[in-house]
Every structure is written in structure tokens, then in C-alpha cells.
Symmetry: C2
Subunit: 385 residues, 2 copies
DNA sequence: CGGGGTTTGTTCGATTATCGACAGAAGTCA
DNA sequence: TGACTTCTGTCGATAATCGAACAAACCCCG
């Protein structure tokens, strides 16, 4: 909205963001004449982007006709690809979930296999939601590795054999495809759905590894090479003996990731292999597991304390497999962050468990798709077409 | 430029950014008709924002008339307030320096005294540059403490007694006043003047304390409370004995700041009090001082290694008093960062000494002022007035 | 129940902004 | 020198926007 805050795209942005629900609102917010707004809205309605609902309540005069996104015609998909799973959520333009599915799927099977599976599931979900394939406008996708966002190509992903430089968007016809790192879309999912008026947010995923998605000024920060948020290999104090798969030692995820906690439990004679095992042990009341999770929280907290000073977020959301036992993890994190960060930065800082849970990634990927489609540039293109 | 990339403000942005130097360029870049562009340019010329210079070189036909910012009519000031100094640079609209000055001045004397000094110096510099006071459009100011940028009020600054919550902008009439933390304006000064096509940059100031300015997507990142970049109190490994003025121990600036290095030299029997003393010793070839500076670089490098993984910058600029002996400081920093950060993040990372040196802050503050004045919104306001 | 006041939606001529074609200006090139 | 190219300014045609006027829908109140 640099200069002419009244193009059809800007009008739609005001509606979709909830700033305006009536033509009067739009006229007031944009400064345009009512007649102009009416024409803009008509165009948006004609293109199937906006619909009128029943009249709103009067404020003393004729009640305004409410406007909102037309949610019947279009569909958007959020795809969450993990190492061993695939979750897809089909959404309407307002972000409401129409249908979703979840499958075990090995990302290591390679792009053709995995994307064929996704494509099939998309068809099934669309049928389930009663919308034709052509209604699918955009697909957002989170993948477990670094991605060059502009092109949608994975960038030397360590756990995605066969995917390096694979042009994912080209696999799908007729829909825009946005591909990003899974932690980024999780961050977006939390921010957009649960922390809408938080503009600076960190999402920390504690699973087998540890990663972080960064929302700055309401937008994802991807960094110069798209590798921002890779906090799993930040060094932590006094653990030089812990070797990491990256070749260094004392990496955060080598001492506080799910796999690392499991290994330590095993060393104590308690069988555990994965983060899920650790969660199960904690839930069963195993005190050693509980202690180690809390200790992992402290280590993560040390790193986060640095990042709080540096980045000054309002909210840190903790997600990932280990966050299922978040009371203990959070206790350790909070303890350290509030001790080690500066008061000015921590005064208004909340550290909270994930609210979207297992759905964060698919929802965030879907938001990526919807926001791409509803961007003023794209809307203007649609309206002028 | 969301929708109508052709308002006078957008046109001026294209000119000031150097993307367009002729009417033809503007027509091509904005997609507007040449006649429309001509009218826009006329308006900008009439308002004294743009001027025509001698014809450019022909590309086979009539040579285009070159356009550029009109630099005669306006003036902008960049003010760098430190604990014990005040530097002011008067600039024209293109960022060219018209005049500058430097004085010893104690920030602790309080806002009235200090700002009166600044005001007087502004008058003198304007006279020197041959411009009336009314030509001064905007003032950018960097101060040594946290600031609420939106209001220009210092926020509990530790070394600015009497300044807390003081409304600095209200002191100056007739000019917009933008106040920010000194490290932020230094970062901006480096990025705009020396690293124009670097969109993600960190500026690290190593002086008595240690701070960091963050440029993300070409804009300053200030964080939720405006305290982003406060890396001086990040904990470093194995120095729990080093107490910091903040109350914690093992803070980066308590072990690697100029004061800390000086103290260690004193402990070794070599008299040193400030960062300047350390610099002098290094320049005199004192090997202990040299060793300690390099060691300080390693400690700073440890922190920066984390931040590189997290933020993924393209360039890290090292400035501040200690950077005068930057060979040794940088050697330590580079050594650690390239060892501890991930290859994807370090592959295209440069760690370089400050290019703007002592002028970075005043220049950056001036850029803050100029960019505020040349923002599309403000230019449209001027043109439509 | 039926005016007066208020807010919203619609229509339509007036105004304004933008476009596109044209002509002139100022250079290059053969 | 004349053909060609590129840039600039002019001007009528076209399109977008505005604003006033009116109709519609609701509230309030007598």
C-alpha cells in the first residue's frame, strides 16, 4: 500500500485481513468514493473472490451488507512432508479446513514417488470436499530440509536423498506451488492461526533434530541462502564430548534433540531410541526421562537466551515431538531464558507450547498458498484478466 | 509498490534508488505511458525534488535528458551521539556530505544541554553549506542506548542519565526527527553506503561494550521492544568468573569488550584502561595485547557463529573502537565462525572490517532521515500538497 | 403505525487521470 | 545530406474516479 491503496488487490487484502467487512469500511479505509468501492467489490464478486452474506446489524441506519471471502469456489492445499509422514490439509480461501489426511510415507523414496502420492491424495481430498481439481489454486509445501524458496528446489537436503535441486513446482499443473522448509511453515502456521497480532515470533521444533522458524515483521525470515533458523548446530556449553552428525561436537541437537536424550537414557540402562520413546517414558512417569527432558530444555534455553537478546521476539513457540511433554521441556527452557536474557527483551516475552500441534506445518503451508493467491499483485492480475 | 507502481512517490523512489535515470526508464519500469511519466516528473521537478542534468549519451537516437535528485534545495542531518562525543553530518538528498563536525560532549549532561548543542551545530553547518535553516527537512539520530523508534524516546538507557522517556523529536521544529540506537544506524550506514546489494547484514560494534545492528531484507530489524541486536550479554563458554555490569556472568562484553581486554592486560601488569589503550598497545606491537585481541575475536566469533546459523547473513561488518586493529580481531572471529557455522550459511558469508569507520553512525542516521523524507508516502504528500 | 433521522447501496453525469497517436527535436549512421 | 532511431511534448480520445442525487432499509419516537 505504498501509494494508491485502492486497487482491487488492496481492497481484497482489507477484507481477507478482517480490517473491513462492509463497503463503508472499505471506503473509509481506502479514502475512495463509495461508488468506486462498489465497482471494485462488484469485480471481486464477479471473479468469485468475495461474497455477500446476510445483512449486518444496523448502526442507526440501513444495515450494511457484509462482505467476506468467497469460500465455495476455490481450494488450497497445505502439504507437510516429513521424513516418514505426509500430511495434507485442504483449505478454503479463508483458511478453514475442508479435508485432511495423513499417511506414512518415506521421503527417501524420492520425489517422483512422493509427489505422485501427494497428487493422488489431493484428488481424493478434493473429491471428499466436493470441489473439482480445477478449483485447486495453490499448493504450499513444507519439506524437511533447506529449500531455495524462489524456485522451490531443495538445496542439498541431508535427509531427502534424490531431492537435491528437484524442481518440485513443475510437478503440479494448474496450481502455484510454494515450497519451504518445514520449520518455516510451522512457524507460519502458529503465527497466522494462534498469534495473529504477534509480529516477531520464533517457532522452535524439538524433535529428533532441532530447528527454528523465524517470523519477523509478520513475514518469514529465510536469510541470504534460505538457511536461517538452523539452530540445531549451535554450540552449547560443556558438552564437547557429544559428537554430532554434522561433524562438529557440542551441537545443540546432539545434546538436546530427541535422539540425543534417547541415547542418554539408553546409557542409563533405559531402552529408548527415538524422541517418541522418550515421550512415552516421560508420560509413563519415568523420573530419569523427565529429568533428562528438563535438562534438554535448559540447554535449548541457553541457546534461546542468546537468540532472544539478538532477535527480541514477542513469543517463542515450542513444538515438535518432544513438546508433547512440554511442561518439563518448557520448564527447563523458561528457567534458562529468563535467567540469561536481558530484562528489556524478556519483559514481554512469552514462551509457550505449540497451539496447532501436529497440524502446524500443513496449516502453515496452506497459509503460504492462500497468501500467495490473495497477494494484491495476484488479485489484480485475476481481476484484470 | 503493491498495485499502482506509478505514483509520484514510486517514481521518485526509482530515481533515488538509481533504477531509472531517464523518463524512458521510468516508463519502462512502471508500465505507464510516457506522457503520464512526463507529467509526474514535471510535478517532481516543480516541487524541487528532481532536476534535469545535461543530456546523457545517445543510444542511436536523441539522447535522453538525465534525471536525478535535486540536491540544491534540501538538507538532512545525521547525528551520532556517543557517550562522550557528538558527530554531525549534513547531507544533501542524495547522501552527499555537505559539511560535518565533531565535538567532545558528555551525553550524561542531559537532553537539554546536548540537544541545544546539536541545534547550534546544525545552524553552523547549514551556514557553512550555504543553506537556510528551513532547508533542513529531517534529522536522523543515533544514541547509545535503547530507543522506542516510533516515538523517539530512549527506553531506560543505562548510560544516558536524564534521557529516559525524553521526547527527542519534539525538541526540533520544522524537521522530522528519527531516533534510533547507535548500532542500528551504524549498520544502516554500512549497508547503504558500502554493501548496497547485500540484503541481510549484521554490523557488530566492538568497543567498550559489544552490540549488533541487524539489516534484514534491506530494513533494520528492531525487534518487539526495539532491543534486538543486544548481543553484548550473550553468554560465552567457560568464563563464568567474569562478572558483567548487567549482573550476570560470562557475558560476551564482559570477556571480549574493550574494557574487558584492558582489564586483563592490567592483570598481566600492562597498564590499560580503555579500548583505546588496547588499540594503542596493539599498534605499538605489544604481543600480549595482540594475543588478547585475537582471543577476544575468537569469543566474539563463537557468538557470531550461533547467529550466523540462526540469521544467515551475507555479510558481517566489524566496527567499533577495537576494529582499528581489525586484522587481529577479524582473524579470531573468522577462525571461529568458519569452524562453528554450517557450510550452507558460511559458503557465501563475508566477514569484513567497517568501511565507513568513524562516520558510519552519522551517515546511517542521515540515511534514516533521507529515506524517511523520500518514502513514497511522504513524497506523495508533498506533491499533492 | 407512520414520519424524521441515519446509514447504506445505486445510478449517472461531471471531472480527472491516463493513454496513445502524432509531430518535432536531437542525435547516429550510411 | 537523408534515412533512421530515440527521446520529448502536445492533444484529443478513452477510461477511471468522483460526487451529488436518489432509493432502500433500518431505528427511534411520538
Amino acid at each position: 500500500m505504498t501509494s494508491a491503496p485502492g486497487s482491487p488487490g488492496d481492497v481484497l487484502t482489507l477484507i481477507s485481513a478482517g480490517f473491513a467487512t462492509t463497503r463503508s469500511d472499505l471506503a473509509r479505509l481506502t479514502g475512495l468514493a463509495r461508488s468506486t468501492i462498489a465497482q471494485r467489490v462488484d469485480a471481486l464478486i464477479e471473479r468469485g473472490l468475495v461474497e455477500e452474506t446476510e445483512s449486518g446489524e444496523s448502526t442507526g441506519g440501513r444495515p450494511p451488507r457484509q462482505l467476506r471471502l468467497h469460500t465455495e469456489q476455490h481450494a488450497f492445499a497445505g502439504v507437510d512432508l516429513g521424513a516418514t509422514h505426509c500430511r495434507i490439509t485442504l483449505m478454503d480461501m479463508s483458511g478453514e479446513v475442508l479435508a485432511s489426511c495423513e499417511d506414512q510415507l518415506l521421503i527417501g523414496d524420492g520425489p517422483e514417488t512422493v509427489l505422485a502420492h501427494v497428487d493422488g491424495r489431493l484428488d481424493r481430498l478434493l473429491t471428499e470436499a466436493g470441489r473439482p481439481r480445477a478449483a485447486l489454486r495453490a499448493i504450499g509445501m513444507g519439506v524437511p530440509g533447506p529449500v531455495e524458496y524462489a524456485t522451490g528446489r531443495p538445496n542439498n537436503p541431508p535427509i531427502m536423498p534424490g531431492w537435491n535441486d528437484y524442481p518440485i513446482p513443475e510437478y503440479f499443473d494448474g496450481a502455484a506451488v510454494l515450497v519451504d522448509n518445514d520449520v518455516n511453515v510451522m512457524a507460519l502456521g502458529e503465527q497466522r492461526n494462534a498469534f495473529a497480532d504477534t509480529h516477531h515470533l520464533l517457532f522452535v521444533k524439538v524433535g529428533t533434530g532441532i530447528g527454528c522458524g523465524i517470523v519477523a515483521e509478520g513475514r518469514l525470515h529465510r536469510g541470504a541462502q534460505g538457511s536461517a533458523g538452523d539452530i540445531g548446530h549451535i554450540r552449547v556449553n560443556g558438552h564437547d564430548d557429544a559428537g554430532c552428525r554434522c561433524g562438529n561436537s557440542a551441537c545443540l541437537e546432539a545434546v538436546a534433540g530427541g535422539a540425543a536424550v534417547a541415547r542418554r537414557l539408553t546409557e542409563l540402562g533405559i531402552a529408548a531410541e527415538t524422541g517418541a520413546d522418550v515421550v512415552a517414558l516421560v508420560q509413563a512417569g519415568n523420573t530419569q526421562a523427565l529429568r533428562l527432558v528438563r535438562e534438554a530444555g535448559r540447554l535449548i534455553g541457553e541457546v534461546l537466551a542468546s537468540l532472544v537478546n539478538f532477535f527480541n521476539p514477542e513469543v517463542i513457540v515450542i513444538g515438535g515431538a518432544l513438546s508433547r511433554v512440554h511442561e518439563h521441556l518448557l520448564a527447563g527452557i523458561r528457567e534458562t531464558v529468563y535467567r540469561r536474557s536481558l530484562p528489556l527483551a524478556t519483559h514481554h516475552l512469552s514462551i509457550v507450547p505449540s497451539r496447532m500441534g501436529i497440524n502446524a506445518a500443513a496449516l502453515g503451508a496452506g497459509m503460504l498458498a492462500i497468501e500467495h493467491y490473495l497477494s494484491p499483485e495476484n488479485v489484480n492480475r485475476i481481476v484484470n484478466a
